[in-house]
Point group: C2
Chain length 313, copies 2
């Protein structure tokens, strides 16, 4: 049994699900909550899942990160739009030899966290999961769940597979979560963006589900053109994504159940959109390498406009 302690920052669809699975295994898990705090203290944390539903009770729940103990693994599962809180939250929460595992979408978060806790203590993870928070302290896991994990090194230099990352992967594996270890976190992040940028972005701008984007000829062409731009951006960082990967993503999405992307769900609920992490940072990083991504730039500016208008009082 693992003796590592975990802190979960952001007990939502991602953090709530993975944290609950770890605690179910008997691991010491501490959850930071905000609006669901009272509910979870009283009633626990409920997970609905095709792999087995359960309710955790009691839960080591906190409404303030300063009340939490320092942990071996601090999982960042906030929305990236909350990342401005990390400089205050993280330092006291990571043990001397502890690590921060970033389970967020997009690009360019690890360098920010490295500035706070040092690059040597940063691990990145990408979640391939369909999961939603459907009520206070109530998470509905629909499908998938795999995490791709990789060590972060300064400027995303490939990091190799370390012992500590294997140990963390083992905890997740024991909890029933498949983990794939990646020697090249940056490549893994760019690959995930091949899907995330076109579908998240266009679903908001065009008010559409994945199937609508795939069925109309012009939006389908646009999805593919945007995917090609992501691949070009990745090339600027020596991350080679083969053409087949684009075809695989298109085929996969065609077979999916019609799906509202997380950005579209945020938009419809008038929550702030993760535009910078998912679209702005990749676009700017490509630009820094002299790679022009006009479709992605346009998508970025359209989303910034829509997000702003969406949250005017």
């Amino acid at each position: 049994m693992s003796t590592r302690s975990y802190a979960i920052l952001g007990t939502g669809a991602i953090g709530g699900f993975y944290g609950a699975k770890l605690q179910q295994l008997g691991i010491d898990v501490h959850f930071l909550l905000h609006s669901d705090y009272q509910q979870v203290c009283r009633q626990g944390l409920s997970i609905e899942s095709p792999t087995g539903s359960f309710t955790l009770f009691p839960v080591q729940a906190y409404d303030n990160s300063h009340k939490m103990p320092a942990c071996d693994v601090v999982i960042v599962a906030l929305k990236t739009t909350q990342n401005h809180l990390l400089p205050q939250i993280l330092p006291p929460l990571v043990k001397e030899d502890g690590v921060v595992l970033i389970l967020q979408n997009g690009l360019g978060i690890e360098p920010l966290v490295a500035e706070i806790v040092n690059a040597k203590r940063v691990i990145g993870g990408l979640c391939f999961i369909c999961s939603n928070k459907v009520g206070k302290g109530h998470i509905r896991h629909l499908d998938y769940g795999m995490i791709t994990m990789g060590e972060y090194n300064e400027n995303y230099q490939p990091g190799g597979i370390t012992t500590r990352i294997k140990q963390i992967a083992e905890d997740f594996n024991n909890a029933g979560i498949p983990v794939e270890l990646s020697e090249n976190l940056l490549l893994a992040r760019w690959k995930k963006l091949v899907w995330n940028i076109p579908y998240n972005g266009l679903s908001v701008v065009l008010n559409a589900k994945t199937d609508e984007l795939m069925n109309a000829p012009d939006s389908r062409i646009l999805v593919e053109e945007i995917m090609r731009e992501v691949v070009k951006g990745a090339q600027g960082y020596d991350c080679m994504i083969p053409e087949e990967f684009i075809q695989k993503m298109l085929n996969h999405t065609e077979k999916m159940t019609p799906y509202l992307t997380s950005m579209k769900l945020d938009y419809d609920s008038k929550r702030p959109l993760e535009i910078e992490a998912i679209i702005g940072n990749p676009w700017r990083m490509a630009t820094e390498k002299g790679v022009d991504l006009p479709y992605i730039e346009m998508l970025y500016r359209q989303l910034k406009f829509l997000d702003y208008q969406n949250r005017l009082v």
Copy 2:
């Protein structure tokens, strides 16, 4: 007094207003109507305008172009989405030495009409007017009204100022409509697109009025970038639009009363959008010259998607 007869194809905001002004002057004008036919036969055609409101009665109204007499000047003022009707309507309607005057937005309409009636009988016109049809046979003219007119020659070769175009301009002038004659119709059309492409396109995609597009920093940048692409497209046809023109359009729009573009009005009423004339044709014409316009291409595909979804039953 002019002895020229006029046919008006499309008695809406544009055709209705200009046709009524010509008839008010005593000119012989014949109006093709569709859904407003009965109303206009019974009650006439009403023009509300800051330059003087009036009702024409009786009106030489027709519900079928085949009942109309051949005229000296046939004004095409249909929505461009109706242009597939022109091969049937036009041939019998233009006198032997008559002309077709195209008062439509966008690019690439003159070559189509030239195929039907021969390039020698085609004149293009651009209307700078704020006018709406607000009810059956009821047109509200808000502001402006100038027409820029130019002879069409094959492949938009500059045409010079002919006697016949001066005569038509004189009819409009006498009716109180200022006319500017252009030796280069293609340049005039590209210049108008500098405004029409970004504002029409983005107003639909971003669900926004002109002032909202100008006030938010990202949409404003996008407007300007799209304007620059139009200028690049024009350059591919040796039509030189100076940088100052972009600044003039931006300043002008900033000072305008918040404005819903015609494409946005069409979208909100679930009418077909003039995507091909205003955006698709310019984009394809630039592409033919090897000029890449990615923002405009993306805007085109987004509009095609939205138009399609908008009119699904």
